[in-house]
C-alpha cells in the first residue's frame, strides 16, 4: 500500500503563501553565516545562481561541475527565451494567468503553490538579469521586447536573440566568479559527484572524483544542493549535452531521496532529425521558430516532389487544422505527438521519412528576409552548418527529440528532498511543470529556484545548524561511501568485456524511445522492463572500459553514468506503467479520447508518484503526494 507524503505548503491564500513563508522563515545572522558550508553540485542556471546568492549572503560555498568551466553547463544551450509576468505588452497578462497557463500546460499535475510561486517571482528575475547586463532584445525606444511562445496566448517571453540561456547563464556565472574572487566560493571544475554522504539522517557531504586525475575526494558541508539538471540523455539521442547525466540524483535516490514522476520526459517537437546510425546527439531548434514557421507534411504518403513544388492544397498544415486557436503554437507535448502521428502514418519527409517541414516562406513573404534573419538568424545559420541547407530557401526538416525531464527528485515546498539537508533545484527536481513544461519556463524555474527560493529555504534549514561543527570527512560514513565508489569503479575497469558503455547506452536509448517515449503501452513497458533488465545483466559482466581508475578516463566516466541510466530507466518504465492515465507528455495508448488526445484520470491519478529506493532496482516503493486543487478546478486541456 502506497504511503502518502506531504509537501509542507504554507497556510494562506495562494497569493499569500510565499510572502507568509518569507515572513516566518528562520534567518541566520551575518556573523554566523561564514561558519556554515554548503555544497552546490552543478553550475547551470540553478546551481550558479544559488551558489552566487548564498555566497553573497556570506555562506561558504563549494561549487562543483563536471565541465571544465562553470560557464559550459547545459543551460547555456537554451535558445528561445525566459517567461516573466511583466505585462509590458498590455495583452492581459497577470501572475494568476501565468500560473494558470503553467498549471494547465502541465496538464494539472503540478503543485498549485509551487507553480504560483514560479509565476510570482518571475518579474524580479527580469529586473535582476537586466541589472547583471544580460542583453535582452529591445525596442528602438529602449524598452524591453517580448515574443510569444507555445501554449499561451500572451507575449511574455524575454529573449536575447536565440541565445537566451547562454546570456542568462553568463550572468549567473559572472556573479559566481565574482564570489570566487572574493573568496566565498571554492570552485571544483572537472569534478563529478559519485555519492551522497549522510550522517545521522542528514546530508553532510559528497564523494567526488577529480576527472583530471582520477582522485576520489571527500567534501563535507552543512547542506548539499543538487542542481544537476535533467536526464533526457538517458534516451541517448537527445537535445542534451553529452555529459548531462542522472548520476547525482540517482545516487541520492539510492541513499533515500524520493524520485518523483521519473517517466515524464518532454519530447521537443522542433529538433533536427537523425541523419545516420553514427549520430551522437540531436540538435534543438528553438521553439520560437514556431512563431513564424508553419508546420506541414505532404497529404500523400507517396509524395516525391521537393517541398517547394508541392501546391498548397496538397499540404497538410496539421497543427493549424487540428488546433485552430493555438495552431503552430500548441504546447510541446501536443506538437510532438502530432508530428509522430504524421511520421508513423508514413507522411514523414526527408531521406529517413522521420521529419516534418517547418516552413518560413509565408513569413519571409510577409515580413521580409531581413526581419526573419534578425529574429532567428543564428538558428538559420546553425541549421545550415549542420545540414548544409539554406532554410531561407527551403523549409527546415524537424523531428521530435527527448529534451526535458519534468520528473526528478521529489522536493517539498522548501525544495528540500526527503533527506534533511539535501536540496534539489532546477531541472533536477520535479516541482513546477507537472506532466509537461511550457516553453521558456525552464530558464525561469532554474533562475527562480536559485536566485529567489533556495536563499530563503536554505537559510531556514541552516538556522538550526549553527551549533553544528564543520563536517568531519573522516567519519565512517565518508569511508563507507568512498569504498563503495572505489569498488564500483574498479569493477567497471576489471570486467574487460566486449561492449563499451556507449554501445550499452545506444541500446538503452532505442528501447526507451520505442517503448517509453512519446507513447507508451502496458505491453510495451513490460517488454521494455525485461529488456532493460537483460541489458543491465550484460552490463555487469560484459562492459569494456580501457584505462585506469586513478587517471583521466572519459570511458570510465561514461560507464558510471550509463550504469545509473540502466537502473533509472527501469524506474521510468515502472512509473509509466503505474500511471494508468494519459497526461501531458505521458501518453498511454490505452487511455485516449476518441480523437486521440490524452485522457486524464483525476479521480485515481491526481498525485505525484514519489518512488523510494527499497534496496532493489526492480521493486521501488510508491509514495503518493496527492495534488490538492484548492484554487483551480482541473479541466480537460484543450488547445483547439
Amino acid at each position: 500500500m502506497a504511503k502518502e507524503i506531504h509537501a509542507t505548503i504554507p497556510e494562506g491564500d495562494l497569493k499569500d503563501k510565499w510572502s507568509n513563508y518569507k515572513a516566518h522563515a528562520k534567518l541566520v545572522s551575518p556573523n554566523n553565516r561564514k561558519k556554515l558550508e554548503v555544497i552546490v553540485v552543478g553550475t547551470g542556471l540553478a546551481g550558479a545562481s544559488a551558489a552566487a546568492s548564498l555566497a553573497e549572503m556570506g555562506y561558504k560555498i563549494k561549487s562543483f561541475c563536471f565541465q571544465d568551466s562553470p560557464r559550459r553547463a547545459h543551460s547555456v544551450a537554451a535558445q528561445g527565451g525566459v517567461n516573466a509576468m511583466k505585462n509590458y505588452q498590455n495583452d492581459g497578462d497577470s501572475v494568476y494567468r501565468m500560473f494558470y497557463d503553467t498549471l494547465k500546460g502541465g496538464d494539472f499535475r503540478s503543485r498549485e503553490a509551487n507553480t504560483y510561486r514560479l509565476a510570482e517571482c518571475s518579474a524580479s528575475l527580469i529586473d535582476q538579469a537586466v541589472a547583471q547586463g544580460v542583453p535582452f532584445g529591445r525596442e528602438y525606444s529602449g524598452y524591453l521586447k517580448n515574443r510569444s511562445f507555445g501554449g499561451v496566448q500572451v507575449s511574455r517571453t524575454f529573449y536575447a536573440r536565440g541565445q537566451t540561456g547562454q546570456q542568462l547563464l553568463l550572468g549567473a556565472y559572472q556573479a559566481l566568479m565574482r564570489q570566487k574572487e572574493q573568496g566565498n566560493v571554492q570552485l571544483y571544475t572537472r569534478h563529478e559527484m559519485l555519492d551522497l554522504v549522510i550522517i545521522d539522517g542528514k546530508a553532510k557531504g559528497i564523494i567526488a572524483r577529480n576527472l583530471d586525475t582520477g582522485e576520489i575526494e571527500r567534501h563535507g558541508a552543512h547542506a548539499v544542493i543538487l542542481a544537476t539538471g535533467g536526464f533526457g540523455k538517458i534516451y541517448y539521442l537527445s537535445t542534451l549535452a553529452m555529459g548531462c547525466n542522472a548520476s547525482a540524483i540517482w545516487r541520492a535516490y539510492k541513499k533515500g531521496a524520493l524520485m518523483a514522476n521519473p517517466s515524464w520526459t518532454q519530447v521537443h517537437p522542433t529538433s533536427l532529425p537523425q541523419s545516420g546510425p553514427y549520430q551522437s546527439k540531436l540538435t534543438l531548434m528553438s521553439e520560437s521558430l514556431r512563431n513564424d514557421g508553419r508546420i506541414w507534411v505532404p497529404k500523400s504518403k507517396e509524395e516525391q516532389r521537393l517541398p517547394g513544388e508541392i501546391p498548397e492544397e496538397e499540404r497538410d498544415y496539421y497543427l493549424e487544422r487540428k488546433y485552430p486557436s493555438f495552431g503552430n503554437l500548441a504546447p510541446r507535448d501536443i506538437a510532438s505527438r502530432a508530428a509522430k502521428e504524421q511520421i508513423d502514418a508514413g507522411k514523414g519527409v526527408g531521406a529517413l521519412k522521420n521529419a516534418v517541414y517547418l516552413d518560413f516562406s509565408d513569413a519571409i513573404k510577409e515580413y521580409g528576409q531581413e526581419l526573419i534573419a534578425e529574429r532567428y538568424g543564428n538558428l538559420f545559420t546553425m541549421y545550415q552548418k549542420i545540414t548544409g541547407i539554406d532554410a531561407y530557401k527551403e523549409p527546415m526538416k524537424i523531428s521530435p527529440s527527448a529534451h526535458f525531464s519534468m520528473g526528478g527528485l521529489w522536493v517539498d515546498y522548501d525544495l528540500m528532498t526527503s533527506i534533511p539537508g539535501l536540496f534539489a533545484i532546477g531541472e533536477a527536481n520535479f516541482s513546477d511543470h507537472g506532466a509537461n513544461r511550457l516553453g521558456a519556463n525552464s530558464l525561469l524555474q532554474a533562475c527562480v529556484d536559485g536566485y529567489y527560493i533556495a536563499p530563503y529555504t536554505l537559510q531556514n534549514y541552516l538556522a538550526d545548524q549553527i551549533q553544528v561543527k564543520k563536517t568531519d570527512v573522516n567519519h565512517p560514513a565518508f569511508t563507507e561511501a568512498e569504498e563503495k565508489v572505489q569498488k564500483q569503479l574498479h569493477h567497471f575497469i576489471n570486467q574487460k568485456g566486449t561492449k563499451t558503455a556507449e554501445e550499452f547506452h545506444r541500446e538503452l536509448g532505442k528501447i526507451l524511445y520505442d517503448k517509453c517515449g512519446l507513447s507508451r503501452s502496458e505491453d510495451g513497458l513490460k517488454i521494455a522492463i525485461s529488456q532493460i533488465q537483460n541489458l543491465r545483466e550484460d552490463f555487469k559482466t560484459n562492459l569494456l572500459v580501457p584505462g585506469d581508475v586513478e587517471d583521466i578516463n572519459s570511458e570510465l566516466e561514461k560507464a558510471g553514468r550509463v550504469s545509473d541510466y540502466l537502473e533509472l530507466s527501469e524506474l521510468m518504465c515502472i512509473d509509466a506503467l503505474n500511471r494508468n492515465e494519459s497526461c501531458g507528455a505521458h501518453f498511454r495508448e490505452e487511455f485516449q479520447t476518441e480523437d486521440g488526445e490524452a485522457k486524464r484520470d483525476d479521480k485515481d491519478f491526481a498525485y505525484s508518484a514519489a518512488w523510494e529506493w527499497s534496496g532493489e532496482v526492480s521493486s521501488p516503493i510508491l509514495n503518493k503526494e496527492v495534488l490538492k486543487f484548492e484554487f483551480v478546478q482541473p479541466t480537460q486541456r484543450s488547445y483547439k
Partner: protein, 263 residues
C-alpha cells in the same frame, strides 16, 4: 519499424570515406607529446568531426588501447568546450564554426587530417587534445561582471537600453569562451576574449559605471596569467566561432587608456 528499415537503406546510400588521422597524444603536462597515425576506412560524410573521433575511440577501445581524450559537451556550438586544431586551424577549415559543428563532408576521401590541441603557455595540456583553459575563468573573475547583488534590482524598464546598444552588446556577449582566439594568435593573446566582456558591459548603461576598474583589473589579470600582447593581426576574429569583432579589442584599449588617464 519503418524508420529502421529506412535507416539501413540510408546506410547503403551514404558516402563513405577513408580518412587518415595524425593525432597528438600526450600523457600529461609534464611529458612530451607526439603525433600518432590512425586510419578509419568507414567514415560517413554526414558524420560530425567529433562523431568521427567517437568512431576512432570505439575502435581503439575494442583494440584495448587508450581512447583519445578530447573536450566536448553540448555538440551544438554553444558551450565552448570543444576545440582542437584541425589541419593547423582552430576548429578546422570552416569559418565561424566550432569543432562540433564541423562535418566530415568538409573533407575528401583519402585525406590526412592533423589534429592537435590548442597550444599556449596559459593552456597546459591535460591529456591528448584536452587542455586546461581555466585561465579564461580567472580573467572573468578579475572583474568580468557588474557588481550587483542577486535578488532585488530596480524595475527592468527603468534602465533604457537602445536597440542598437542592446544588439551591439549582444554581439560582444556572444563569446563562448572556447579559446580559439588564443590558439590562433601568434602572440597567444587573450585580447579578443577579454575585450568581448569588457566591451559588452561598457556598451550597456548599467555596466558603464565600473568600466574603468573592470578594464584595468581584467587586463592586468590577463597579463599576469601569461597571455601575450595583441598586435592587431585580426586572425582571432577570422577563426572565432562566434565572429566576435576585433573592434571589441579597440574598445578595450579605449577603456583601458581612458582608465589610465583619469587615474
Amino acid at each position: 519499424m519503418n524508420s529502421f528499415s529506412l535507416l539501413s537503406e540510408a546506410i547503403n546510400n551514404r558516402i563513405v570515406m577513408k580518412i587518415h588521422l595524425k593525432i597528438w597524444r600526450q600523457k600529461n603536462q609534464n611529458t612530451k607529446g607526439q603525433l600518432e597515425t590512425y586510419t578509419l576506412d568507414d567514415v560517413d560524410a554526414e558524420m560530425s568531426f567529433l562523431e568521427m573521433l567517437d568512431m576512432l575511440n570505439l575502435k581503439l577501445a575494442k583494440q584495448g588501447e587508450r581512447p583519445v581524450e578530447f573536450d566536448h559537451d553540448c555538440r551544438e556550438g554553444i558551450c565552448g568546450q570543444c576545440g582542437v586544431m584541425i589541419n593547423g586551424i582552430a576548429h578546422g577549415p570552416l569559418k565561424n564554426t566550432t569543432t562540433c559543428q564541423l562535418h566530415m563532408r568538409s573533407f575528401k576521401d583519402g585525406d590526412t587530417i592533423f589534429v592537435e590541441p590548442f597550444k599556449a603557455k596559459a593552456f597546459p595540456v591535460i591529456r591528448d587534445l584536452k587542455v586546461n583553459r581555466s585561465a579564461l575563468d580567472e580573467i572573468i573573475a578579475a572583474g568580468g561582471y557588474i557588481s550587483v547583488s542577486t535578488g532585488q534590482a530596480p524595475e527592468a524598464n527603468s534602465i533604457l537600453v537602445s536597440h542598437e546598444e542592446a544588439e551591439s552588446a549582444f554581439d560582444s556577449a556572444a563569446c563562448i569562451g572556447c579559446g580559439a582566439c588564443v590558439a590562433t594568435c601568434k602572440n597567444a593573446s587573450a585580447a579578443l576574449f577579454t575585450s568581448s566582456k569588457i566591451s559588452q558591459l561598457a556598451k550597456l548603461p548599467q555596466g558603464k559605471k565600473e568600466s574603468n576598474k573592470r578594464t584595468v583589473d581584467m587586463v592586468n589579470r590577463m597579463e599576469d596569467l601569461g597571455f601575450g600582447h595583441c598586435t592587431n593581426t585580426e586572425a582571432c576574429q577570422v577563426e572565432c566561432p562566434q565572429d566576435i569583432s576585433v573592434l571589441n579589442i579597440a574598445q578595450m584599449n579605449y577603456e583601458y587608456n581612458k582608465a589610465k588617464l583619469v587615474k
